[in-house]
């Protein structure tokens, strides 16, 4: 393919951002070093809240990595040319976020040096073990998919590879939801609705990340997104946000219906302090109402508003995951249903958790890693969307 990039990413801002991301990544690695030498005592995690801030970042990145491939699927599986032009960028973003997510997940382990043990001992009943296969398979399928799109001789295989990616990411996000759905004893988690909920959330989050990346690339190159593409993409993003909100609402409403779950819902939605605040203000207002307004209000919905909407969706995602992961663990296990309990091990009381700077640095490091993979990827390879020429009747 003869290709001369019109996208010259030479602006000083580009290099500044690369340098900044490297700095943040180094901060993350420094945090890992401290966590490994001093132990998890320097994090906010404890024996009650065993998964903390690193898992919020990891699950956001992994879920968004799956959802961003929606752009590819609409192009390759459903044959929409506007989206097909964007498939390579979506594939790159997916690999970048999956890499960042896995990085933080692995480096938070108590013994990350034993990763070879995870690769060589496989428990077929463990959802984590399934996910090791799902994540590595996802890398492989997306790589093959990118190859079929970027190498002319492989073009005929592009649709088949796109279909494989389409199926794989559904299974992958199902696997992510199942990590929680199979925890029978935890009030916040044991629910079959979690895998579909994560899938629809992934659509919204992945799309928001894609829109941000695309807007940044276009802005750096002084280009504007064609109006019809911009409108189509922003509307679809709005639909995904509504779909995700519906499933989150269903999850809470079904919980409210079960008498044994009402205490938990009361905690997470009303009197649980930071958790209801983050849920209502962070997820509902910033993560849903604000983006819907920015997208669908007649006088808004242009690129700048939709960039704002994308940022709001991402912030809302972090709020929701914090409530879901940390709030879900903070609520005490009901070991003796019908009894009040107390002990020296936090039985019967809301667990406290304050994220430490090391956890946040590790999480930000994973975002920086994902950014670096993307930024360097679009510089060295042909990932940037090129519009399919419009047919005459559109002009």
């Amino acid at each position: 393919m003869s290709y001369t990039s019109p996208y010259e990413l030479k602006s000083p801002l580009y290099y500044l951002l690369i340098a900044l991301a490297l700095l943040v990544l180094c901060g993350g690695l420094l945090a890992v070093h401290e966590m490994e030498s001093q132990g998890h005592i320097i994090t906010g995690m404890n024996n009650q809240v065993v998964w903390g801030m690193p898992h919020v970042f990891a699950i956001f990145l992994i879920v968004a990595a799956s959802g961003v491939l929606n752009v590819s699927s609409i192009g390759s599986v459903f044959n929409k040319p506007d989206y097909k032009a964007r498939s390579p960028l979506a594939g790159l973003l997916s690999i970048a976020m999956l890499g960042g997510g896995l990085m933080v997940l692995m480096l938070d382990l108590g013994r990350p040096d034993r990763i070879i043990v995870a690769a060589t001992n496989y428990n077929p009943t463990s959802v984590f073990a399934w996910n090791i296969v799902l994540y590595s398979g996802m890398f492989a399928t997306v790589f093959v998919y990118l190859w079929t799109m970027m190498e002319r001789r492989m073009y005929p295989w592009s649709k088949a590879a796109g279909l494989a990616v389409f199926v794989w990411r559904f299974v992958l996000t199902t696997g992510t939801g199942l990590i929680f759905a199979f925890l029978v004893a935890r009030q916040a988690y044991a629910s079959a609705i979690l895998p579909p909920m994560f899938i629809i959330l992934s659509f919204a989050w992945g799309f928001a990340v894609f829109y941000l990346a695309q807007s940044a690339i276009y802005a750096w190159n002084g280009k504007t997104l064609e109006a019809h593409v911009q409108k189509r993409m922003s509307r679809l993003m709005g639909v995904f946000v509504i779909g995700a909100l519906y499933l989150v609402a269903t999850y809470h409403l079904t919980n409210l219906y079960f008498a044994r779950q009402t205490a938990f819902e009361h905690f997470i939605l009303l009197d649980g302090g930071v958790y209801p605040q983050l849920f209502w203000l962070g997820y509902i207002v910033i993560g849903n109402l604000l983006p819907l307004l920015l997208i669908f209000h007649p006088s808004l919905g242009k690129t700048k508003s939709v960039v704002g909407a994308s940022l709001a969706i991402i912030l809302g995602a972090f709020a929701l995951l914090y409530v879901f992961i940390i709030g879900g663990q903070a609520f005490p296990l009901d070991i003796f249903p019908g009894f009040e309990t107390s002990s020296a091990f936090g039985d019967g009381v809301i667990a406290s958790y304050r994220p430490s700077v090391f956890e946040v640095l590790l999480g930000l490091g994973s975002l920086a890693a994902a950014f670096l993979i993307t930024a360097i990827g679009i510089r060295v390879l042909n990932f940037v969307p090129r519009e399919v020429p419009q047919k005459v009747e559109h002009h």
């Binding site: 998890h40 404890n46 108590g110 043990v117 428990n123 463990s126 029978v184 009040e340 020296a344």
Partner: protein, 238 residues
């Protein structure tokens, strides 16, 4: 004797000596570690019956004994390991109060074993649920899965470990039912320490054992029996 025979004899002597030197430490270490040549038997199901009527509020002897036996600090911060804890429970409907010890319930179908990605969480043939410290990668998924909150994560570097009970920073641990004592035919430390003999330990599968006789004779419950995990620890008087 020919020169070749002498050489051969010397060679054999040296070989036997070298082999002895190579094997001896292994045999000695095996002895020091109280290793047993035969594995755990699936004919046995170790379990406990805890009589809550005999367990006293404020008494912490079992916890202290466990900490001492297993080299735990005894701290009760949220990041400290607690393999056994006393729980005070109060019936919401009638105000009846009880005190009881809670630890790994050594389930027949342990969720921690199901979720462990590396098979570090495992159930021995005789029903004791353990963590292989050399395989645990510290993902804490088992802690999320345990309905009894029986597991702790080692958050800090360790000092002065009991050689019989190896632990490791960055790995998950829990009550081992004092497997090192059980394998020597002794009782777990908490059982021995209880001043009121509230904890009865033994083989649930042996119809003539004291525990099996008592489980048949008195009403006992398994905690969260609704989850159908069939714990090896039963409670009397709840």
């Amino acid at each position: 004797m020919s020169e070749i025979d002498t050489q051969r004899r010397n060679f054999l002597k040296t070989s036997v000596g070298a082999a002895a030197v190579a094997i001896a430490p292994g045999i000695m270490l095996f002895d020091i570690a109280h290793g047993k040549p035969e594995g755990a038997s699936s004919k046995v199901r170790w379990g406990m019956l805890i009589d809550t009527a005999q367990c006293k509020t404020g008494c912490n002897e079992c916890v202290t004994a466990c900490n001492k036996e297993n080299g735990l600090s005894g701290g009760t911060a949220a990041t400290d390991s607690q393999w056994i804890r006393k729980i005070e429970i109060k019936d919401i409907s009638n105000g009846r109060e009880l005190s009881l010890p809670m630890m790994c319930q050594h389930c027949e179908h342990p969720p921690c074993v199901d979720v462990c990605p590396t098979n570090a969480s495992m159930k021995r043939a005789d029903g004791i649920v353990l963590v292989d410290k050399h395989r645990c990668i510290g993902c804490r998924y088992c802690m999320m899965a345990c309905p009894y909150k029986a597991r702790s994560f080692v958050h800090e570097p360790l000092h002065d470990q009991n050689p019989d009970v190896p632990r490791g920073k960055g790995t998950v641990e829990s009550c081992t039912l004092c497997v090192h004592r059980v394998d020597e035919g002794r009782q777990p430390a908490c059982v021995e320490s209880c001043p009121n003999k509230a904890i009865l330990f033994g083989d649930l599968n042996d119809a003539n054992s004291e525990i099996a006789v008592k489980v048949r004779a008195v009403a006992s419950v398994q905690i969260r029996a609704d989850l159908h995990l069939n714990p090896g620890v039963r409670y009397q008087g709840i």
